[in-house]
């Protein structure tokens, strides 16, 4: 219970901080806040027009009142109006979220499976040729920036080989049905590959490190001393323990994965929330940019909270704490 409420409090606090940053930035940034909030060159207006505009959006009220209204707006779903589309920000975001979740979720699954498999294998062969080879290769992958990987993949698979489409999530004028699903998957391959290349490294490194650490523990010696075979030692004893830090690091990775979408979605023109951030920067559509930022924060915090609450399921030491002396 203690742990439960503590985690919710911590995430609540983070959310609050993110909201406050979002509120404060346009008001504190150098320049006229009206410009950021209205998106127009306010200086061209007459004083009367300007004052009218300001009072319309409430910028002439005391700062605390503005803050209160802003928070209330977030809760009631009033996230502002997009300048570019003239639609509520929430409506625009709702269109984009499914694509981001599809892309991020697929990339998470692929990179975790691949990273753990390689990590366990490398730890098993630690210090040997296989391990060093995989380790260096993965560190190389890990050092490549996502947008560059994306551009190279486009350059090779779309431009040069013409195998896979490089833009969008659905073909224009889609037919629907099975062929549409295939098209969606085809358009998912390159972005997922990019995210996998850039995220497989952290899963691999933490898996390998946790496995190597676990394999040094006294209970491994004991397992060997009681005659457990190599497979049993690696999977039943070492991996079962190494899962705990791996799980934690994967939850941390959610943040970089969803955040990293900004870059990858931009390069592939993928219609997710990340791409929306980029588009609204270009269009100076600040309400949408801030809304997209908040949404990503929401998603990351919610995912982390769920992962945190599920942690006792895999760690008996947390599950059954201090029952006996």
């Amino acid at each position: 219970m203690n742990r439960f409420s503590g985690r919710i409090l911590a995430y609540g606090l983070s959310l609050f901080v993110a909201l406050t940053i979002n509120f404060a930035l346009p008001r504190l940034a150098p320049g006229d806040p009206a410009y950021f909030l209205l998106g127009r060159a306010v200086s061209e207006l007459t004083d009367a027009e300007r004052a009218k505009l300001l009072s319309e959006v409430g910028l002439d009220r005391p700062i605390l009142e503005q803050y209160g209204r802003y928070l209330a707006g977030i809760v009631t779903g009033d996230w502002g109006i997009s300048l570019r589309f003239g639609k509520p920000v929430t409506a625009i975001l709702a269109e984009r979220v499914p694509w981001t979740l599809l892309l991020g979720g697929s990339a998470l699954i692929v990179s975790v499976l691949l990273g753990m498999t390689l990590g366990v294998f490398a730890a098993w062969k630690r210090g040997q040729k296989e391990d060093i080879g995989i380790l260096s290769f993965v560190m190389l992958l890990d050092s490549m920036p996502a947008f560059w990987v994306a551009m190279m993949l486009i350059g090779v698979f779309s431009v040069t080989l013409g195998l896979l489409p490089a833009f969008g999530a659905v073909p224009i004028g889609a037919a629907g049905g099975m062929s549409q699903v295939i098209e969606v998957v085809r358009r998912l391959i390159l972005p997922v590959a990019t995210l996998t290349v850039t995220h497989v490294g952290s899963v691999f490194l933490i898996t390998r490190y946790s496995m190597v650490t676990a394999l040094r523990e006294d209970y491994i010696v004991m397992a060997e001393a009681k005659g457990v075979g190599e497979r049993g030692v690696v999977f039943r004893h070492a991996l079962r323990n190494a899962l705990l830090p791996i799980y934690t690091s994967i939850t941390v990775m959610l943040g970089t994965l969803l955040g990293g979408n900004v870059v990858v979605e931009t390069v592939f023109a993928y219609p997710g929330v990340g791409r929306l951030i980029y588009e609204s920067i270009l269009a100076r559509d600040y309400a949408v940019m801030q809304g997209a930022f908040l949404l990503i924060v929401f998603l990351v915090l919610a995912a982390n909270l769920m992962a945190d609450l599920a942690y006792p399921l895999i760690d008996p030491r947390v599950r059954r704490q201090g029952v006996k002396e």
Partner: protein, 826 residues
């Protein structure tokens, strides 16, 4: 190990090359990257190595200048991040309490908000510019080093040498700069490297989204233009996109390599631990003739360690036999190769150790001649191990009954329910009830966990059990229970036993034959009764000089206290209530001390004895001012010292001092002997009257006093260059350098082998006769207290249950705890 340094060197070379490129950019670059020098989209040629971009800028020059921007951001950000993170970690980890709590909530927030979107939003509002980028990235990246370093600070501040410094009255600033920072510094460097890596990574992402500095073009800015201006529409993408990306990847990779080489975890992680598949079994000879009686025959066994300075022979030509039903005790000081011998017998030696020659013949089979799969049925089946640190030998995430059942299932064709049933029976035999069988190891006490390990070792009725220090770390009562359990079971199952220990007394209780091991060799061997006089309760320095009894050899000649002596230390009604979680008041409250009162007179030695967890160490820590009592007062030399602050406590420094249990931990690893011993003088001198000359003289005297002579040989050494006994001597020298009137010694010998322990006790007694100080000795070992102390206080669950002159307490025991302790000491 090899890979680690090689990768690190590769990283350094790459990084140096890039830095040179950045510094020498004006010399190397063929053109000014900011003016058009060719036609748009020119292909690579002699005049433009990498072609030109859409407005005719030379791409090679752009990349060479780009190194400046990228590296500047990376390195400056990393410096700022490391500084902020370290400062936050030191403040939070050291102050604890509210500042730490607040700081950690900030860190939580900074870590849970996704980095890149946050950086994007901030940079959009703050506008482009390289200085702004550095600030934004630092504001986002400092949190992780802060959290990781704080965890280190928290663990360092619990270390013995920090506690020792606090007990000396050192101030916060002194401790932070002298004791905490030097220890965590090696961990700060990898944090810097990682911060640089991340900074370049995020800078490139920001720049790529068009948020970089458009004037000061970094590699990622080049890529941004490539993407924005349709490089893909032409063939230019290959030379426009590939080279800057490679540069970014190369820079990040070089930092990653260096970081990997520096990281603490990788330090040992890369050493190959598993026996490689190439490891061929040794040729086995057929001349072994097992007779019916001989179970195990070890012949000329040599096990070495590969170290940086060549081979170290841990086991050096050991030969012995074990008969059926025999108990062989192997005793020797720490570092004599006993554990390596135990591991060798099961052929479980891991690199960097390896067996180079010899034979281990068990029931007619040479174990060294078997392959891994042939060994498996023997390990745990015919010979099993009770490893050293049996506390940690259980898998923390598997219920104990399953771990015992597993030991059976790998050797016998049992169904899961059947093996569970048998495991339950076995646990019952070692005294663990069925209701505890589903428990996880963390729910059991140390003694209970050992019982589980014993159950596992006996699961398949092995012919031989190798028990390596099966009782270390247990209090004397539990130790006794474990030994008698082991002995009973062994008799019942008809198992032979090799009992390895540094504790002669323990071995003598159980073993038929004793072998003495010194520096990898067996120097003496014979029936137990012959080696040690069986009558006297304390062995008379039996076989070899290095393996004396754990209690001092002479009969107790503890100083008798003159009744008229004044009370030096007076403790009145000391109570401490431990609240487990301060955030939620009213939770688990535990009285660790309850109304404890006693006195120590001038020149006397008082012992506080009790089982572990009785509250003995808490008393010592309260007296030294390391923790505060909930109630009660302490008077020292007639003055109330209960609530003294740091400054006032410093004046007590010359009057009382403490010796800690663990000599490995109580000395700062990075300080030289003379500085360690001189530290109290310096701290004291800050308030007082002692100059450097005086300090040197006092240090010399103190080192002479504790027998570290010739002094000049020890003066400049680091603790790592000393043996355990020598370290405890240094701790003793530090304690007496200001000639205190009271020394509190908390288990001063328990981490030492018996010979060194006996020497330390003799030395302490010798110092007392010369300098007339009092001792407050804290121990679980009644034999030790009996030999050393004139008066005893028996503590149980935070209360004094018995007190009085030593012999009186022992002869007329009234309390069951005292009786247990007396029995355990026999």
């Amino acid at each position: 190990m090899m890979t680690r340094s090689r990768l690190g060197r590769a990283g350094l070379i790459m990084l140096c090359a890039l830095i040179c490129l950045a510094l020498a950019a004006p010399l190397i670059a063929p053109y000014d990257p900011y003016t058009p020098t060719g036609r748009p989209f020119e292909a690579p040629s002699f005049s433009h190595w990498l072609g030109t971009n859409d407005v005719g800028h030379d791409l090679a020059s752009e990349i060479i200048y780009g190194a400046r921007a990228s590296l500047t951001v990376g390195i400056l950000t990393a410096l700022l991040v490391t500084f902020l993170g370290t400062a936050a970690a030191l403040v939070g980890g050291y102050c604890r309490g509210r500042p730490d709590f607040a700081l950690m909530r900030v860190v939580d927030c900074a870590l849970s908000i996704p980095f890149l979107p946050l950086a994007i939003v901030i940079s959009v509002f703050l506008g482009p510019g390289i200085g702004m980028e550095i600030l934004v990235l630092s504001a986002i990246l400092w949190a992780r080093p802060a959290r990781e370093l704080r965890a280190q600070v928290l663990s360092v501040r619990e270390r013995g040498h920090v506690q020792a410094a606090r007990a000396m009255g050192a101030g916060n600033f002194w401790i932070m700069t002298r004791h905490v920072f030097p220890v965590i510094f090696p961990l700060v460097v990898p944090q810097f490297v990682r911060a640089a890596n991340r900074a370049i990574f995020y800078e490139s992402s920001l720049s790529f989204l068009g948020l970089g500095d458009p004037v000061y073009k970094s590699w990622a800015v080049t890529l941004f233009y490539a993407n924005a201006r349709g490089a893909f529409l032409t063939d230019a993408w290959l030379w426009w996109i590939l080279p800057p990306g490679l540069c970014i990847a190369g820079t990040i990779l070089s930092f990653a390599f260096i970081g990997h080489a520096l990281s603490d975890g990788a330090h040992s992680a890369d050493a190959p631990h598993r026996r490689s598949s190439k490891d061929r079994p040794m040729p086995s000879s057929s001349e072994d003739h097992p007779d019916g009686k001989c179970l195990l025959s070890v012949k000329n066994l040599v096990t070495v360690f590969d170290t940086a300075r060549g081979e170290f022979q841990a086991v050096d030509g050991v030969t012995f036999d074990v008969n059926r039903n025999e108990v062989l005790g192997i005793v020797g000081p720490s570092g004599s190769g006993k554990t390596m011998l135990a591991m060798s017998i099961l052929h479980l030696v891991r690199p960097p150790g390896r067996i180079v020659e010899g034979r281990i013949v068990l029931e007619g089979t040479d174990l060294l001649g078997l392959t891994a799969s042939e060994l498996r049925p023997i390990r745990g089946g015919r010979v099993s191990l009770i490893p050293q640190n049996a506390m940690n030998a259980l898998n923390p995430v598997i219920p104990i009954v399953e771990q015992v059942a597993e030991a059976m299932m790998v050797h016998r064709p049992l169904s899961r329910p059947e093996s569970r049933r048998q495991a339950l029976g076995l646990l019952e035999q070692v005294g663990i009830s069925a209701s505890q069988a589903e428990d996880f190891p963390h729910e059991l006490s140390g003694g209970m966990r050992r019982r589980v390990v014993i159950a596992m070792a006996l699961a398949n009725n092995p012919a031989l059990v190798v028990a390596d220090e099966p009782t270390s770390g247990l209090d004397s009562v539990t130790r006794r229970e474990i030994i008698s359990l082991l002995n009973d079971l062994r008799k019942r199952h008809g198992t032979s036993l090799i009992l390895i220990s540094h504790d002669v007394r323990l071995v003598r209780q159980v073993a038929d034959t004793v072998a003495v091991m010194v520096s990898g060799k067996i120097v003496e061997r014979g029936p137990c009764s012959k080696l040690a006089g069986s009558a006297s309760p304390t062995p008379q320095v039996p076989m070899s000089p290095t393996s004396a009894g754990s209690a001092p050899s002479e009969k107790p000649s503890a100083p008798v206290v003159a009744e008229g002596n004044a009370a030096l230390l007076k403790v009145n009604n000391l109570t401490r209530i431990f609240v487990s979680d301060r955030m939620w008041p009213g939770r688990a409250e535990r009285r660790t001390l309850n109304g404890v009162s006693f006195e120590v007179k001038q020149g006397e030695s008082v012992g506080i004895v009790g089982r572990s967890g009785a509250g003995k160490t808490t008393i010592a820590r309260i007296i030294m001012g390391l923790i505060r009592p909930t109630a009660g007062r302490i008077f020292f030399e007639g003055r109330d010292v209960t609530d003294l602050n740091h400054g006032a406590r410093r004046t007590l420094l010359g009057r009382m001092h403490m010796i800690f249990q663990d000599p490995y931990d109580a000395l700062h690893p990075g300080m030289r002997v003379e500085d360690i011993v001189g530290e109290p003088v310096v701290i004291h001198g800050a308030t007082g009257d002692l100059g450097p000359q005086d300090r040197r003289r006092r240090v010399t005297e103190a080192l002479e006093d504790v027998g570290l002579t010739p002094v000049d040989q020890f003066r400049r050494r680091f603790p790592s260059q000393l043996s355990g006994g020598q370290r405890q001597r240094v701790a003793l020298a530090r304690a007496i350098v200001l000639r205190p009137s009271l020394i509190i010694a908390d288990e001063p010998t328990s981490m030492l082998d018996s010979a060194s322990g006996a020497e330390i006790l003799a030395l302490m007694r010798d110092l007392q006769s010369r300098h007339r100080m009092s001792y407050l000795l804290i121990t679980h070992d009644l034999a030790l207290a009996r030999a050393f102390c004139g008066r005893l206080i028996v503590l149980d669950r935070g209360e004094i249950v018995e007190a009085g002159p030593t012999e009186q307490v022992i002869q007329t025991t009234r309390h069951p705890v005292t009786r247990e302790l007396v029995r355990a000491a026999e």
